[in-house]
Structures are given as C-alpha cells and as structure tokens.
Amino acid sequence: MRVAYRATQLLALPVLLFATWWFASAGSTAFYIPPLSVILDAFDDTWFGPRITEDVLPSLGRLALGYLIAVVVGVVVGMLIGLNRTLRALLEPTLEFLRAIPPPVLVPILMLFAGIGNSMKVLVIVSGCVWPVLLNTVEGVRAIDGVLIDTCRSYRIGGVLRLWHLVLRSASPQIMAGARQALSVGIILMVISEMFAASSGLGFTIVQFQRGFQIPEMWSGVLLLGLLGVLLSLVFRVVENRVLAWYHGVRTVEKER
C-alpha cells in the first residue's frame, strides 16, 4: 500500500508531463517541434543500434573515469587541506578562484595541452567535478566532533584507523553532498567536452543531428540525456543509502526525540 502510494507520488508528474507533450505535439507540423510519437520512433532507430557502443558507452565511460578521478582526488586533497590549518589558510583564496572558473572555458585551453582525444574530455570532466567534492570534504573534515577527536587521542587511535574511522567517516555526509553536485556537473561537462573537435559521443551526435536538420533525432538525444541523468541519480542514491545508512539513522532518531 505504502509502496503503491510512493510510486504514484513519484510517477504522477512525469506521466502528466509526458501526456501533455504527447497530446500537445500530436498534430504538430512545426519543423523544429515534431510530434512526440515521431521523436520516440526516432529514439528507437537512433539509439538501439551501433550508436550504443560507438557513442553512448564511450561517453559514459569517460564520465565514469573522470568522475572517479575527481572524487578520489577531491577527497584525498580535501582531507589533507582540512586537516592542516596552515595549508588551509594558504590555499583557500586560490581554491575559491579556481572553483569560480566555469569549466567549459577550460576546454580550449585543455585542448592545447591534452589534444582532442579521450584524455582531454576526461580532464574537462575532472576539472569541473573535483571542486564540489574537494571543498565539501574540507568543510566536512573541519567539522569533526571535538569529543570524538579527544576519544581517538586518549585511546591512541592513529594512522590509517584514524583517517578512515574518524576523518573520512565523519566527513562522509558532506563528501556525499559534494559528490552529488559533482555528478550533475559531470553530465553537463561530458556533453560539452564532446561538442568541441570530437568525432563520437552523445554531445557530438546531438550537435551533428542539429546541424543536419535531423530534428526528431536531436530531440531523442536530449531525451536520452535526461533519462541517463535520472538513472545515474538513482544509482547514486543507492550508493548513498548504503554509505550514509548510519547518518540517516541518527537523523531519524533525533527527529523523533
């Protein structure tokens, strides 16, 4: 019963939007706004063929690689900065500056260094995703509970045990918040990085369709991107629920008191 209610709640608006689009565009003769039925036909033909292996999977592979590098670098560097007051004071203004640069403008610059291949595209994704993770990790590490720090000190818990069980786990709610932001940034950059001097990938294909006036195909690409975004966010939520099970538990208990 609860599950059915929840499913209705989740799906009501998407179904409504889909229906509105379907009926509103049904008799459309406008060239740039084809009927949804035509777009869906195009979707089938366009994406369930060789394009899956030639465009979609390479795009997702680059996204996965860039995102993982960004998360690892962001967490490691963020922990170093968060744990070291001098380093923090030294780096904070610079970090704010670097974060404020919109990553897409880095594409032409990165092309100069890394060429136009996969490494450039992965670098673009890394350069955008690393900041939310890094800055959130710094904040998370700074906010570790003083009593817990004292507990570790008096029980002489140090080294790797301390880094893992005190620092990383304490900061994990903030780290996950940063990783969530980074995921949406990553999807955007995945597309943008393929719009420059690329020969394959989702972003490249969508731009090709647009330039070739294949409007239903273009729309189907946009639809696919949206669906991928939803799917990735679902995967993220599953991971988050596992990693932060304790956090949600604590929050629930606190609310009940």
Partner: protein
Amino acid sequence: MLTVTELHKVYDGQGRRVAAVGELTFTVQAGQFVCIVGPSGCGKTTLLRCIAGLLPPTAGEVRLAGERVSGPPKGLAVVFQEYGRSLFPWLRVADNVELPLRAAGIARADRRRQVAEALDAVGLADAHGAYPWQLSGGMQQRVAIARAIAYQPRVLLMDEPFAAVDAQTRADLEDLIRSVWQRFEMTMLFVTHDIDEAVYLGQRVIMLSAAPTTIADDLEIDLPDERDQLTTRGAPRFTELRGQVYAQIQKAKVDRT
C-alpha cells in the same frame, strides 16, 4: 600510581588570562577509587583533561606510574560526559568497543574475547550488532564504559559520566561502576558535581574550590566496601560524610566570593 604535582593551568585568550586550575597537588594509590567534587565551573574538566594528557598544563606535572604525562599515556582510558558524541555512530556497538584494541595491535581472537567480556560486564551481551544511536542514553554510556573496560586500562578517568542520564539509570550505572572497579581492579578517578554520588562511589573524596581551583579538602570515605543504593545511602555515617563534603564545598564557594 598517579601523582599530580603543583598543577597549574591558565587559559590565554584575547588579552584575558583565565586561571582555571590554581595549584593542585595530590597522589592516588594504585587501585584506589577517588571522586573529585567541586562547584560547577571549578575547572574539574580542565584538571581531568590535564591528567588524561589531552591538555598541556601551564606549570607543574602529572606522573602516571612514575612517567611524566606529556600526551595521552598508555593504559589510561577516559569516559566522557557526552556519551552520544564519544561513540562512533557509523560503527556497531562491538566495533566501537573493538576499535581501540585494533589500534593497540591486539590479535583478533583476543580482541573478540575482550569485547565480549566487556559488553557482558556492562549487561549489553545482546547488543553487539546494534548501532549506538539505536540505544537509550544509559545504554550508550554503558557502551562507552565497556569500551574503557575492554581496553584494560590501569587508570580510568570519568568526567561526569552520568550527568545527562535520568535518576534511575544513574543509580544503576553507579552500581555498575562499583562492580566494574572491584572486578577489574583499576585505579578510578571519577569527577562529578554531585556530592551524594561522590560519597556513595568513592573510597576517598577530593573537594575542589571554585576557579582557580585548589584542593579544599581531602576526605577518606570509611563506608564498607559492599555498598547498595538503599542501605548505604540510608546509613547514618553516609549522611554524616555527605554533610562534611557539603559544608566544605559551601565554604570553598564563600571563601572565593
């Protein structure tokens, strides 16, 4: 076992020097149960943190078994007042108790045995797999006590450990601490602001003055070793001792103001 010599602590902050601990000297014999009482804000916690090696004294020294304390020493455990914040919310009860043992490099089989024994001693034999936040306040403090017992310290420091639990739980925990102390034969230093609690628990009560703290009086508690909430607290000698401690604390307050 534990000697505190001319201990002095001044907090230096923004042009204001606050003398928290005036000049303290006392010795605790091995295996003794000593309670430290004083009015609120009298620097009890500061004193305890200096003894635990968590806070460097401004002058004077603390020696544990002849060795000068310059950081958290081996064989010393602390139970903090904020039980909720001193347990790792992302670790299950048994893992919380085990973590200091892992840090100490104790073999897995021994760790298992010590954890089981300690949880059994505090009456939580069936709570191994729970998370701390799933337990009541009193049970959480039992976990913290179990963690201290499993660590097998020579000296156990307790900083107002029962200040935040309800009266009934508090009485249970007091009896638990007495039995733990008798069973595991450790030196116990118990800080509290509750005069009844100090007299009920200790073999000796050290009374502190208001800040900057000095020793107002040092009293032997000559009650029988077997104590229980009803008969001990009802004994004429108990009332007499409590009166003495109370009078000293009142006097110490008046002397300062």
